[in-house]
């Protein structure tokens, strides 16, 4: 509560129901809930209680310490920067919320630091987490080292191969990285395996989930930790420009940077919210093999239950979860946060899919014109600007959710496979020539 009040600049806005949605019972319309094995329920109840006391109630000054550590250790606030070349190109004011400048190079630290600190307040002795691209894993490893907590990270084997630098970073910060070999070895399997660890160790261990997914209170709690992105951006926009943006754009996988970027704007009806999902190679689904060559669960998914919540999912007609795909491992997930599923049904958030090619072009465009190398996840948002310029109003905030250093190998390899306009010739680095 205090979090909202302290950052709302207009004193007349006393009720912001959208900002607080789901806090009471974990339900977002028909979505949300707590679909987990019984062994985890007491831990989830304990966590709900801790969330209400420390995060909402600022008990023992938890939120004060969280904000202080986000500033001192994390480097907040991050800037809201005008993108001059993109503004010119699209004939609109384009502003970048620079979460890539947060410590660790992505928005993930906001949530990881909040949850590891909360685990400390709760008296837990061990941290576990899943990771897809490795961004949440590295953020959790950093936060665990910073707060002196032992930490184990589960990561799909395929993702480990795609994201080796992040594996090294986690190990350097003292975390144990456990490969998950089930299924295709991506985020979905890593979440399942982390839940299994938690079911066995729940009494002394906290599971730092990396997105606004999972059982209540995770979706609201992760949103509230990530909401600092939009609370800052909203204030920065009002202070700098004197007005709210017309549009806010963020990429969407599980949806933590998305909801973090939208949260403070949900109640501002004049601000259009665009969630950009990974369209992968195509939106067509192969029922036979159970593969969806995309991760567009908001755009194409159907309602179902996965990893503790009712939400929109990529699934076959029987309800088996499909293997998703994206050029960016951080968006490669068959589900999405229940709050986003709800906001899409309500028409408050517009989902859109941007495919691998357009994302890669966005990656190169931002790198070469603005001097910012974005994460491949983030690059989807810039693919959207290019493809859907006409859908946007005159002042657009785009969240640069992470930097692209971790993706250089993948970007070079993917660029070499395609004819990307304006991209440098990288064949000498792939052995192609």
């Amino acid at each position: 509560m205090s979090e909202t009040e302290s950052t709302t600049t207009d004193a007349s806005e006393t009720t912001r129901p959208g900002r607080e949605r789901g806090r009471e019972d974990g339900k977002f319309g028909r979505y949300g809930g707590q679909y987990v094995p019984e062994a985890l329920m007491p831990a989830i109840e304990e966590l709900t209680d801790a969330y209400e006391r420390y995060v909402l109630g600022n008990e023992n000054g938890f939120m004060d310490e969280f904000r202080e550590r986000l500033a001192d250790f994390g480097g907040r606030p991050t800037p809201l920067q005008r993108a001059d070349r993109l503004s010119e190109r699209y004939d609109r004011e384009i502003y970048l919320k620079r979460e890539d400048l947060l410590h660790g190079g992505a928005h993930k630290l906001n949530n990881a630091l909040g949850q590891v600190l909360l685990a400390k307040y709760m008296g837990k002795e061990r941290i576990i987490a899943e990771t897809g691209a490795g961004q949440h894993g590295t953020a959790t490893a950093m936060a665990a080292a910073h707060l002196d907590m032992p930490c184990t990270i589960y990561m799909g084997e395929r993702d480990i191969n795609r994201q080796r630098p992040n594996v090294f970073r986690m190990k350097l910060n003292g975390s144990d990285v456990k490969p998950v070999t089930a299924g295709r070895g991506t985020l979905k399997e890593a979440i399942s395996e982390t839940m299994r660890d938690w079911a066995a160790t729940v009494e002394d261990t906290h599971y730092v989930i990396g997105s606004i997914v999972g059982p209540h209170p995770f979706p609201v709690m992760v949103r509230d930790f990530q909401a600092v992105i939009s609370e800052e951006a909203r204030k920065q926009s009002l202070d700098r420009v004197g007005e709210l943006p017309t549009d806010v754009v963020a990429c969407a996988g599980g949806g933590s940077n998305t909801m973090g970027t939208f949260a403070a704007f949900v109640d501002d009806e004049s601000v259009a919210l665009h969630a950009v999902e990974a369209g992968g190679s195509t939106l067509e689904v192969d029922e036979e093999t159970g593969v969806a060559p995309n991760s567009a669960s908001l755009y194409t998914g159907e309602e179902g239950v996965l990893h503790g919540a009712r939400t929109k999912l990529l699934q076959d007609s029987d309800g088996q979860i499909m293997e998703s795909h994206s050029i960016s491992s951080g968006l490669d997930y068959a589900g999405v946060g229940p709050e986003l599923a709800y906001l899409v049904d309500e028409g408050r958030v517009t989902p859109v899919a941007v495919d691998d090619d357009a994302a890669l072009e966005g990656f190169h465009r931002l790198s070469s014109t603005e001097g910012i190398i974005p994460a491949l996840e983030t690059a989807h948002a810039f693919g959207y600007l290019e493809e859907h310029t006409e859908d946007l109003g005159e002042r657009v905030i785009v969240n640069v959710s992470g930097r692209g250093d971790k993706d250089l190998d993948a970007a070079i390899e993917e660029t070499d496979k395609r004819d990307v306009p304006g991209a440098p010739d990288m064949s000498m680095f792939t052995g192609g020539m």
Partner: protein, 314 residues
């Protein structure tokens, strides 16, 4: 204690319909002596072998059989049952094939379906989707009702749904009552107080007492937290079947001597199926091994029961 098990069977009729005891066959399974409740994933490693394996459990003395309908994200399962689920899915198992399997089975024991909620929820969603409105919003369908109706028609007597806590279970509870099926809930070593009340007010058939924390798997030691759990449940009049980690007749004996009304065994049996699949053993041989282990487990449970009530049968 001795009088508790028969009381549970008798009380089925007295209970209000949202409480317990829809299936007479399940009540009967606990009525005279301890119930041996084996689990196998249906379709592991293929449809035909799986039929033979489930029938082998029945020959081995199964009082209730839990049939796993494989789901792609089995978050409550350890590596053994995950392996079974992968083999079954690779072998083409689907909810519709599962129901055909149940119809084709020739067994005496009542059958309980163990699966995850998304498969229950999605069954029948297809029709609702084709009736979607123009905005693309799926019309809300009957939730679990279509699945439960089909399960009842196929001859199933109940469900265990590991990712469905009591808080989210009312639609399934209602559908089970409509079609006369039982809904079994899992009680963990960490379940206490209000949560235990909430579960016990919704459970029917039997309560699945999770012997230790973690996922399913055939561990050699059975946790002494089982005794604590059974103690907490003593006042409730529903049969208590203990599962997670039971793999031998000796385990079964100790668990039943400690107050359990039944034992649930999964991973130790799945191990036999997995080994058979790996070595390409003849189906009959694997089936015989399943029958033999079943007899050992059942005999162990009976020894435990005798030592508890202090009146040997013969």
């Amino acid at each position: 204690m001795a009088g508790e098990t028969p009381a549970a069977a008798e009380s089925a009729e007295e209970r209000t319909d949202d409480q317990t005891g829809n299936s007479e066959a399940i009540a009967a399974a606990f009525a005279d002596g301890p119930a041996y409740v084996p689990y196998l994933a249906v379709g592991d490693p293929d449809y035909e072998s799986s039929l033979a394996y489930v029938e082998a459990l029945d020959r081995g003395g199964a009082d209730i059989i839990e049939l796993g309908l494989p789901f792609s994200e089995p978050i409550a399962e350890g590596s053994t049952i995950q392996g079974a689920i992968v083999r079954a899915l690779d072998g083409g198992m689907t909810p519709d094939r599962f129901f055909e399997f149940v119809e084709e089975l020739d067994v005496d024991a009542p059958l309980v379906c163990m699966t995850y909620y998304n498969l229950i929820y999605q069954y029948g969603a297809g029709e609702a989707r084709s009736a979607s409105d123009a905005s693309g919003h799926a019309a809300s369908h009957d939730g679990p009702r279509a699945f439960v109706e089909r399960a009842a028609e196929a001859g199933l007597e109940g469900f265990v749904v590991p990712d469905l806590p009591a808080e989210e279970a009312d639609p399934l509870r209602t559908a089970c009552d409509e079609f006369g099926l039982d809904l079994v809930f899992i009680v963990a070593p960490t379940t206490r107080g209000d949560r235990l009340e909430r579960i016990m007010s919704r459970v029917s058939g039997y309560v699945y007492v999770q012997a230790r924390l973690g996922t399913t798997g055939a561990k050699t030691e059975v946790s002494d937290r089982t005794a604590e759990s059974l103690d907490r449940l003593r006042e409730y009049d529903v049969p208590k079947a203990v599962g997670f980690g039971i793999s031998s007749g000796e385990h079964a004996e100790r668990i039943v001597a400690g107050g359990a009304d039944g034992i649930i065994v999964g991973s130790a049996l799945v191990d036999i199926v997995a080994e058979g699949a790996e070595n390409d053993d003849p189906v009959e041989e694997v089936a015989d091994r399943l029958t033999a282990l079943s007899r050992e487990l059942k005999a162990g449970a009976e020894r435990g029961y005798e030592s508890r009530i202090g009146t040997p049968e013969s």
